[in-house]
Structures are given as structure tokens and as C-alpha cells.
């Protein structure tokens, strides 16, 4: 008996989404559940995990308060610094630049984001390291400047690494802006400064919000930048996690921290989305 068209359509749909659904279930949902189970377990004497049901791991979280504190302080500051640098660039690209070269200029901003963060951070180890800028300063008589392994170095690395991700959403929202509004504002006698604060900035807020949220969220899980430019002195949650899993092998405690990190990410994300929806309905970002 041939299949009814309805049934056939359903089967095709199921076959189309099944591989992705299976992948998501086996490598996202299940691992996440395993991690939550681990977080309530105990550390086995030889390291790893031992089945139990205890809140001890979560109760122990304050022992890694420094990592949480650093992350929750430096990530928003880094995102804010990114914003300060990114906004003028996005504004220039969207409104002031010659349309003929706009595409090339935008590409030049996006491209570094897709190249290895490891290599780009390495570049700054090079520049800030003792044989880089401090060496040059030494030649003109300023001795003993330490740049690497400071919070400043980490912030610099953050701005460098995440600038493209901040510029893009702001650029997109500014580019969509109706130029006639700017003309109308000028025709009605507004000074450029009041046009900017009264029209341009409010209309680009969705892009600003998206950029700040994206960068903050990615920074919450950052490992490489604090590892390479903070040198163990400025460490994030990510660094604590690597230490717990790959060095001291305290998996249950590490799982508890990872679960907490996800909770923090979800909170930040939902707050950001609530604000973004208030600002405007749009949350489309073009990352590429």
C-alpha cells in the first residue's frame, strides 16, 4: 500500500532533522546532564568521579571566588572598552565611509575574527613581553616596565580579540538607519551633536546591546587570553576549570563550577535579551 502523502511528508521531515537532532541530543543534552550529575557527586580518591548525592561541591564554590570575581569584573569592563573603540569605527563604516570601499573596509574588520585567537593573542605576548615594548622603553631610559601578566594586558587582549564582534552588530544597526531621519533632524535645526544623541545613538542601541551581550557572554568562558596575557595572575573561570579537570583532576568540583558558569551565562543572556527587546524587536546579527 503506498504511503499517504501526509505520512510521506512527515517521514521526510523526520529524516531531514533526525541526524542533527541525534547529534544535539548525544553531544549536547546528554553531556550536559552528565555534567550536572557529576556536580552532585564526590571526587574519587584517585581523581575523577565517584557516585554520590551531595551539595558539597556547590558549597565549596567560594574557594574559587577569585576566578568568578575576576571574570565578572573584567568581562563587562572588557566589553565596555570594546564598545568605546568599536562605536566610532562602526559609525564611520556605516555613515561616513565612501560606499565604494565600504565592503572592503567591513571585510577587513571581520576577517581577523575568524583567524586563530591563539595566534592573535600570541602576537601580544610578543609585543608586551620583555623583549617587546619594555625593551624599547628601556632603550630610551625607562627601565623595568612590566606589561605582560597584568590586568591591563588581559584587557588589551580582550579588546583586540573581540573588537570585530562588537563592530559588526553596531555597523549593521547603523547601516539600516534611515538617512532621511538625519536630514530631517538637521533641517529642523538640530546641531550634529543633538542629532547624534537624539536620533543616531538611540536607533543604534539594538546593535550596541547585541554587541555588548555577545562579547560579554563569550568572555565569561574565555581561557586563552587570561592564560597567555595574564600569566596565572589574572585568571578567569575558564582557567580554574582547566586546572580542575586537567591538573588536579577534581571533576565533580569542576562540574559544579561549569554548571554555575552556564547559569551565569543564561542570566546575563536573559537580562540582555530583555533589555534588547525593550529597545527594539530586532535581534538579528550578521556575524559573517
Amino acid at each position: 500500500m503506498p504511503l499517504a502523502p501526509d505520512r510521506k511528508r512527515q517521514l521526510t521531515t523526520a529524516a531531514l532533522v533526525a541526524p542533527a537532532g541525534l547529534w544535539l541530543f548525544v553531544f549536547l543534552v546528554l553531556p550536559f546532564m552528565a555534567m550536572v550529575v557529576f556536580a552532585f557527586g564526590e571526587r574519587a580518591p584517585e581523581g575523577g568521579y565517584q557516585a554520590a548525592f551531595t551539595f558539597a561541591q556547590f558549597a565549596n564554590l567560594p574557594s574559587r571566588a577569585a576566578a568568578f570575581w575576576n571574570t565578572l569584573m573584567i568581562a563587562p569592563i572588557g566589553a565596555f572598552l570594546c564598545l568605546i573603540v568599536a562605536y566610532p569605527v562602526a559609525y564611520y563604516l556605516a555613515i561616513k565611509s565612501n560606499p565604494k570601499y565600504r565592503l572592503v573596509l567591513v571585510s577587513l574588520v571581520v576577517v581577523p575574527f575568524w583567524t586563530s585567537l591563539l595566534v592573535r593573542t600570541y602576537a601580544w605576548m610578543y609585543i608586551l613581553g620583555s623583549r617587546g615594548i619594555p625593551n624599547l622603553l628601556g632603550m630610551i631610559g625607562i627601565e623595568d616596565v612590566r606589561l605582560l601578566n597584568t590586568p591591563g594586558a588581559v584587557l588589551l587582549g580582550i579588546v583586540y580579540g573581540y573588537l570585530p564582534l562588537m563592530i559588526m552588530p553596531i555597523y549593521v544597526s547603523l547601516e539600516k538607519l534611515d538617512r532621511r531621519l538625519l536630514e530631517a533632524s538637521a533641517d529642523l535645526g538640530a546641531k550634529p551633536v543633538s542629532t547624534f544623541f537624539g536620533v543616531t545613538l538611540p536607533l543604534s542601541l539594538p546593535g550596541v546591546m547585541t554587541g555588548v551581550a555577545l562579547v560579554t557572554i563569550l568572555l565569561l568562558g574565555e581561557y586563552l587570553i587570561p592564560q597567555l596575557l595574564g600569566g596565572g595572575k589574572v585568571f578567569f573561570i575558564g582557567n580554574a576549570l582547566v586546572d580542575l579537570f586537567l591538573q588536579s583532576r577534581n571533576w565533580p568540583f569542576g562540574s559544579a563550577i561549569a554548571v554555575t558558569l552556564v547559569v551565569v551565562v543564561v542570566i546575563v543572556l536573559s537580562v540582555a535579551m530583555r533589555i534588547a527587546w525593550k529597545v527594539s524587536g530586532s535581534r538579528q546579527v550578521d556575524l559573517v
Partner: protein, 274 residues
């Protein structure tokens, strides 16, 4: 304002340029350029650990990106036919795959796989007919699985956006002209979404090729190129790392440029209403 923007571009590219410059340094120094030489490239390419890591990275990136491109495109096509509830579940899971930090994805995959293997390996040994039962463990498979997760979400997002911008009318016209659904797909839909599938593939490849943190957790005893570079950086900064870094940069630059051209093609077509 122009000056500021120029400065930002310099800020973005000068450090990269410096890495490239010193990869051609004849001396060992990282601050003094003592002469032009390609010896560090020779040294890097003669390093068997490095070449193995590179081969591993290429294989993992290719496999995970191919799987993500196929399954992601299928999912993007299938999702528009799901009920709104089913679509919301998939959207949520894909968003989670993108938003959850790589370090957490790595950890979750690690703990889950280690548990599964500790259960499967004895079971496998008890039913294995020969003397040496295979030992399941972390390695290529686990990296591909973890990279594929993010890549799958990436491809689905890109292809879905492309499908949403496709006109329904052309598909309807095709079926009005008695094309079977498959013919319509092959002749109408596929050619139009193919550039975004390819772009998704290239971005997925680049992501996997550049990823350090996820692979760091689930690689087991295997080494990928970023893991190798990370380990060498900890041993000290040398022009050899610069040479490797330069090659990595050139490779990912090429891929991202091709991906952008493919995506741009899409936007110009949409804008002209083609």
C-alpha cells in the same frame, strides 16, 4: 574621526604583521630583526610533531565540517516543515550549542564520554570473541563530535537564513509546472542555497581548525595544531612559532575570504531581487 579609524585598523593588523615579519627573521631574537631568512619555515616543516598535528587538525576540521554541512543543511530544510513547537526546540538547542562556552562544551563532552567508555569497554570486552577487544577512548572521534556540535549550529543558522530569504513563489511555480518535490529541490532550491552551504562549510572548517579549548579537553592523547602551538608557546617564544602562526593565518585568511565572497554573492542577489 578618520584618524581614529585608521588607528583602529593599524591596531587590528600591526600585531599580526609583526608576527609575520619575525617569522622571516634570520636570528633567534623576537625583537631584533637580524636579516631575512626562511629557515624557520624549513625548521617548522621538518618538525614531525608539528606535521602530525597539522594533519590531525586538517582531518578533524574537514570531517566535522562535511558532517555539519550535510546534517546542518538537512536540518535547515527540515525545520521549516516542523510544527512551531518542534522548531522552537531545535532553535533553542542550536542557540545553546552556540552560546554555551567552549570550555563547558569540552568539559561536558569529556565527562560524558569517559563515563560511557568506562561502561562500554568492559561490556565490549566480555562479548568480544578475540583476545584483544578494542578500547574505546578519547581521540579523533570525540574532537569531531564536539566540534561538529558548534559547526552544525553554525551551518544550520546560515542556511536557514538563506532559505528564509528565498521566494516561495519560485518553488510554487515549479510544482505548478508538475515538477516532483525532489526535482524542485534539485533544480530550484539547491542551486540557490548552495553558496550558503559552502560558506557554512568553510566557516565550520575554520572554526574547527582554529579551536583550542574544546579540543584541549577531549583530544585524549591526540594533538591538534592549536594544541601543539599552545604547548610550544609555553616553552617559549621562538621564530618557529611565528612561522607556524603565519601559515595558520594564511590558511584561515584564504578560507574566510572565500566564504565571504560566497556570502556576498547571496546578499547582492537578494538586494537586486533576483
Amino acid at each position: 574621526m578618520r584618524a581614529l579609524v585608521t588607528f583602529v585598523y593599524l591596531f587590528l593588523y600591526a600585531p599580526i604583521a609583526l608576527v609575520v615579519l619575525f617569522s622571516f627573521n634570520a636570528g633567534r631574537s623576537a625583537s631584533e630583526f637580524t636579516g631575512f631568512s626562511t629557515m624557520w619555515y624549513g625548521k617548522a616543516l621538518g618538525n614531525t610533531f608539528l606535521i602530525t598535528a597539522l594533519q590531525n587538525s586538517l582531518m578533524i576540521a574537514f570531517t566535522s565540517a562535511v558532517l555539519a554541512a550535510i546534517f546542518g543543511t538537512m536540518a535547515a530544510l527540515g525545520m521549516q516543515r516542523l510544527s512551531s513547537r518542534g522548531r522552537a526546540i531545535f532553535d533553542g538547542l542550536f542557540a545553546a550549542a552556540i552560546v554555551v562556552p567552549g570550555v563547558v562544551i569540552g568539559i561536558a563532552t569529556l565527562v560524558a564520554l569517559v563515563e560511557v567508555f568506562s561502561f562500554l569497554n568492559p561490556a565490549l570486552a566480555s562479548i568480544w570473541p578475540g583476545d584483544k577487544p578494542p578500547q574505546l577512548g578519547l581521540g579523533y572521534g570525540s574532537i569531531i563530535a564536539a566540534h561538529g556540535l558548534f559547526s552544525l549550529a553554525l551551518v544550520t543558522m546560515i542556511v536557514k537564513a538563506r532559505i528564509a530569504s528565498l521566494g516561495r513563489d519560485i518553488v510554487e511555480a515549479s510544482s505548478d509546472l508538475y515538477a516532483t518535490p525532489f526535482t524542485t529541490f534539485r533544480q530550484i532550491v539547491l542551486p540557490q542555497i548552495l553558496p550558503s552551504v559552502l560558506a557554512g562549510f568553510l566557516l565550520a572548517f575554520t572554526f574547527s581548525f582554529d579551536d583550542f579549548i574544546v579540543a584541549f579537553f577531549v583530544a585524549g592523547s591526540k594533538t591538534t595544531l592549536p594544541i601543539y602551538v599552545f604547548a610550544s608557546i609555553r616553552r617559549g617564544v621562538t621564530p618557529e612559532i611565528n612561522a607556524i602562526a603565519t601559515m595558520v593565518l594564511v590558511a584561515s585568511l584564504l578560507l574566510i575570504l572565500i566564504a565571504r565572497v560566497l556570502m556576498q554573492d547571496k546578499t547582492t542577489k537578494t538586494q537586486t531581487g533576483e
